[in-house]
């Protein structure tokens, strides 16, 4: 279980997160909604150890994860598919994926089967396995990024706008994949602009505005919340 406690993030004089509280229970898909600049990515970067918080903390299964040490988060089972993908552009698609399993590097059999699963999930990647990741189209790169995060066999998957730039069909596939991964026991925290699709698969959701959690609730509560409907669902 992930628990975020009074977490604040500052960039110089600018505060991106104002002491937020939230949690993700085991087995849940939790969606994080928020406008551009609301602080979603800041939260994700902090949870995966890339960014140190200025206050508060977050614990996963009782272990602190906000120490600014990403390798520790991965080892604890928290993996992120980041905004901006952060792939290794000159390495082949397959090497990118394999590096996702860096923390499991001794288990080559396990990684091989994991790799096969990724290729099954995104068949186009199998075709491009030997191409440098940087030569792929935007959407294909997004698939590599998701695949790379999954290769770490996370228990909690952090997905920062995974549908960005994906074709509608692929967005469906990604959300399906998220559901499947979730069904296999992985909890998911998902930041999305595509609120419709995201809420479709979510158990619960939070709305982040200006660095504060302003709304939280179950999927149905949010789907029927007027503020959410107007601002995020465009209804």
């Amino acid at each position: 279980m992930l628990e975020v406690r009074n977490l604040s993030v500052r960039y110089g004089a600018f505060t991106a997160l104002h002491g937020i509280n939230m949690n993700v229970q085991d087995g849940e898909i939790v969606v994080l909604l928020g406008a551009n600049g609301a602080g979603k990515s800041s939260l994700f970067r902090t949870l995966s150890g890339l960014q140190r918080p200025s206050g508060g903390d977050a614990v996963y299964n009782g272990q602190p994860i906000t120490l600014g040490r990403p390798e520790r988060c991965v080892t604890l089972g928290v993996a992120q598919c980041p905004e901006g993908r952060m792939l290794f552009p000159q390495l082949s698609v397959e090497k990118n994926l394999r590096l996702g399993a860096y923390t499991h590097r001794r288990d080559s059999a396990g990684n091989q089967s994991e790799l096969e699963r990724m290729y099954a999930l995104f068949p186009i990647l199998a075709e491009k396995r030997n191409d440098p990741a940087g030569s792929l189209s935007g959407g294909q790169q997004q698939m590599v990024a998701i695949g790379r995060a999954l290769m770490a066999r996370p228990k909690l998957l952090l997905l920062d706008e995974p549908s960005l730039g994906l074709a509608p069909l692929v967005v469906d596939q990604v959300f399906e994949a998220v559901q499947r991964v979730n069904a296999a026991g992985v909890s998911v925290l998902l930041a999305e602009q595509n609120a419709f699709a995201a809420l479709g698969i979510a158990h619960r959701a939070y709305v982040l505005e200006g660095g504060n959690v302003t709304i939280e609730g179950s999927r149905d509560e949010l789907l029927h919340d007027d503020r959410v409907r107007s601002a995020y669902l465009g209804v």
Binding site: T75, M86, L87, P89, Q90, K95, L99, Y102
Partner: protein, 286 residues
């Protein structure tokens, strides 16, 4: 004909020496995007460390080679930690200037400690091989053989091992590497360790055929930079081919246009190659 084969051997030995120095540089430059102008300095310090081990401690040559490699590896790690790590997201020329500062420091420091005079580094391998008038010292043969082995090993390490892949991954996206759990600072240290150790090995192998002096690194610096650019930055086979190309250009260019112009020939080759293949010989076009 004898002269041709003699020059061929000369070029191979020189190319071997160049490639040993260039490999460490290409690793750091190509892989971590740091134009480490201090590399020549590390090479020079490597020679001095070996020399000191041999003369004042009486350590046997091959042991000194190993020890010197370790010392220089650690020195390079220190350099990375103290200088380059804090500059990891600074614009390109910053690490370059810092590296120049380090080069100044190393050169002046060595001069202060050991004086400006030339030193001799004696290797136990002193024989000369004579193939019907074509001669080569065994030390030079050792350089040729060692460079081939080290190049092969390095290539295998980068392309075939997970640790090698982490080095490349980190070079291409540091945050991405952290995100998948690669301990980037350890990998950076490792990269620098390898580069420092290679510099010391190169110096220890090559110095017996030459001299040890504080400015020996400067002379090497320009050449090895030319080499790795010639070969394509970060490319291990490129560094080797670049080294051989420069060595052959200097050796045979010296034969045809006069030894006087050997240095010009080397850089002329660089300029011509880059004018035709702006990305270097071995780099894929982006």
């Amino acid at each position: 004909m004898i002269i041709f084969f003699q020059q061929l051997l000369n070029a191979l030995a020189l190319g071997g020496a160049y490639s040993l120095v260039a490999l460490g540089l290409t690793l750091v430059y190509g892989v971590m995007k740091i134009p480490n102008f201090a590399h020549g300095g590390l090479y020079m310090v490597g020679a001095y460390i070996t020399w000191a081990l041999l003369t004042s401690l009486g350590v046997p040559y091959f042991l000194a080679l190993g020890l010197s490699a370790i010392v220089l590896g650690l020195l390079a790690v220190l350099l990375e930690r103290v200088v380059f790590y804090p500059l990891r997201s600074a614009p390109h020329i910053h690490p370059m200037i810092a590296a120049l500062g380090v080069l100044f420091f190393l050169e002046a420091g060595v001069q202060l400690v050991w004086g400006p005079d030339f030193k001799l580094l004696n290797s136990p391998i002193t024989g000369i091989v004579d193939w019907g008038g074509v001669t080569i010292t065994q030390q030079r043969l050792l350089i040729i053989v060692a460079s081939v082995i080290i190049m092969g090993a390095l290539y295998w390490f980068l392309k075939r091992t997970t640790t090698g892949a982490t080095i490349e991954a980190m070079a291409q996206n540091r945050e991405g590497a952290r995100l998948v759990g690669i301990p980037v600072s350890r990998v950076a240290s490792l990269t620098f360790f390898i580069s420092g150790a290679l510099a010391a090995i190169a110096a220890t192998l090559y110095a017996p055929t030459s001299l040890v002096s504080p400015s020996m690194g400067e002379v090497m610096n320009l050449k090895v930079f030319a080499i790795i650019v010639l070969g394509g930055m970060g490319s291990v086979p490129g560094a080797i081919v670049g080294a051989l190309l420069l060595a052959f250009a200097e050796t045979f260019g010296g034969v045809f246009v006069g030894a006087n112009f050997a240095d010009v020939v080397g850089f002329a080759v660089l300029v011509i190659v880059l004018a035709i293949r702006p990305q270097g010989l071995f780099r894929r076009t982006a």
